[in-house]
Symmetry: C2
DNA sequence: TTCAATCGGTTAAACGTTTAACTTAAAATT
DNA sequence: AATTTTAAGTTAAACGTTTAACCGATTGAA
């Protein structure tokens, strides 16, 4: 068996209480004893037993990371990257991360991940849009939670998110700066706050530059904003507005779909049309031409979410909104209109 | 606070030992008492404390699920599905799953996931190819582990895998059945056992049908078998063998890349060439035409891996190889040669 | 009829921590 | 010099289980 607190105490010549206090950064201990204890800890490669610690302190040391299965299975690894950010941050912290998915059509009464049933997490990260029913269930659990990359309209929760309005504005402004005037927007699942915010940013930018605009510049599909959706939306957009010179897709997946449509129909990027996406997924670089987009720092969203959750757990901090900055990434799919 | 074993014992009118024995399916208990206890458990929504249980029994109740970061971030959700299978199976079991990634260039001495450093898992699932250095490190930990969708050549380990040779054979045989004779193979990372097995199956099928064949029908790229790789491999293949009538891609990602190459060069599927992939990823259905492929039951791989691991943990079972059956899925990218 | 075996359960120790309450010595205050 | 305060550490109880050892009652064998 591996060393326990007794072994450390013996080796350092102190009581087990002292070892515990040192490890919990109690100020009552002199720096000399601290040094001795830490030395013994290192030499014995001692790690406190989570079970013992949890038993007495009622801390599980676990963090739940929850998202819907279809978000998890998305083709463009977006939420997986956010998870990675959290997981990486957790390596530095006291916590383990338990990843679980829920049904994207979760209803009250549906089976929950085990660690929720048993209340075996100290906090929860909810990534991406989840059914309101699920939020209701989680709220009743009395376990602290934070949202990342999504939060529900009603209610006031701690959340880590990007400024989607600003992103939409920036993307559109980029096209305007390139002298484009007829700029189409393709989106989907318009009830999703991120997407409606991006659309709002798009409209604001146009308005801000006094550009003519009407609803026929906008195509929004019903379902999930994926490649297939981008293809069909681009198609519809061209049927309505064949004279557009630029397209802003609400995310890169749709932009990729749109790109396929354009290729299939002999439309050249950037000869005939400029295209900008949103997210900055890996695939963008492989495209021909590489996609101009708004960079979303996914890893950072994950680490920030974990850090915020830690604060919520520790200080019982009040609802707080953390905005992670985004950035325009100019590649080759947008060009100045001549 | 939630109920503990004392509350249950009180309610059922027995000792806490009895409650514990019932919950651990000890045979010493009469069915009548068992019933009483179970009733009390249900009424109080009692869940044993993992900490307390772990403290006395030295069982953590955690399973580690480990894969390289680039496998986790793959565009086609393959390993995420395997994870999902394991996660779902774990809901029925006693265990929590801790997902962690390691660097795809992991070297001895690199930072390990926390739960490994602290030996806080009862078993490990290793998904996909991982560096040998990592396997060495894990072996020294004396924690049971199983491989899924990969295992190293040397050594004898418990593993859940598909029959890649058979898959390669089946795919090729399908093309042969459609009267194709000049069948190209595109692959990558040929050191990967799955891929070399598929190639072996391809060769066997050709040989089995006495078809003429030489190495120039085969193109293998150095790096990871992704879309970009499929594009370039298809290109090279056509430069060497412009008269092929069918292509077997070692996985769907490469098949998709190849499809793009074919489209870009005015080659029609299935008019000019038939194409078959391997894996059966979601994207296949969106393609034009939908891709014929070998279906790999990813969820099942995950559940089987978890189940096997449980057996290894419990019975200390000997190394065992579980073969999960694959299946040919005929869609529209392959057609009889006329 | 007596003794051993079996059945169905209980008692109590142990697991490895945390932390409130306590102790002792030294320093500061009166 | 006597008293109080502070600093630095120790003692011991508590957390909620599991499980070996134990116990009494019933059954079976001799």
């Amino acid at each position: 068996m591996s060393a326990n607190i007794k072994d450390v105490a013996l080796k350092a010549g102190v009581s087990i209480a002292t070892v515990s206090l040192v490890l919990n950064n109690n100020t009552r201990i002199s720096s000399e004893t601290k040094r001795k204890v830490l030395k013994a800890v290192k030499e014995l490669d001692y790690h406190p037993s989570r079970s013992a610690r949890g038993l007495v302190s009622n801390i599980t040391g676990n963090i739940g990371f929850i998202l819907t299965d279809d978000h998890f299975l998305k083709t463009e690894p977006f939420y997986t990257r956010i998870f990675l950010g959290s997981e990486f941050a957790a390596r530095e912290s006291e916590y383990y991360i338990l990843l679980a998915t829920i049904d994207s059509k979760f209803k009250e009464g549906d089976s929950l991940p085990r660690f929720l049933k048993e209340k075996n997490v100290d906090g929860i990260i909810i990534a991406g849009k989840v059914p309101l029913d699920f939020i209701d269930v989680v709220s009743k659990l009395e376990i602290p939670f934070v949202f990342v990359d999504y939060y529900p309209q009603q209610g006031d929760f701690p959340v880590v998110i990007i400024d989607n309005v600003k992103g939409g504005f920036t993307a559109t402004q980029h096209l305007i700066n390139l002298r484009h005037q007829k700029i189409g927007f393709i989106g989907a699942d318009i009830m999703h706050p991120s997407i409606s915010d991006r659309l709002y940013g798009y409209k604001s930018a146009l308005q801000n530059s006094n550009l003519y605009f009407d609803e026929s510049f906008i195509v929004t599909e019903e379902d999930y904003p994926n490649r297939a959706c981008g293809y069909s939306a681009a198609k519809k957009l061209y049927e309505k507005k064949p004279d557009i010179t630029a397209i802003f897709a609400c995310n890169d997946a749709m932009a990729i779909g749109a790109m396929h449509f354009l290729k299939d129909n002999g439309l050249k990027i950037t000869g005939d049309v400029s295209l900008i996406g949103f997210d900055d997924v890996e695939a963008d670089l492989m495209l021909d031409p590489p996609l101009t987009t708004i960079h979303v720092p996914k890893i950072e969203l994950g680490t920030e979410a974990l850090n915020l959750l830690m604060k919520v757990i520790k200080n019982n901090s009040s609802p707080k909104k953390i905005l992670v900055p985004i950035e325009l990434v100019v590649r080759e799919s947008t060009r100045k209109l001549n």
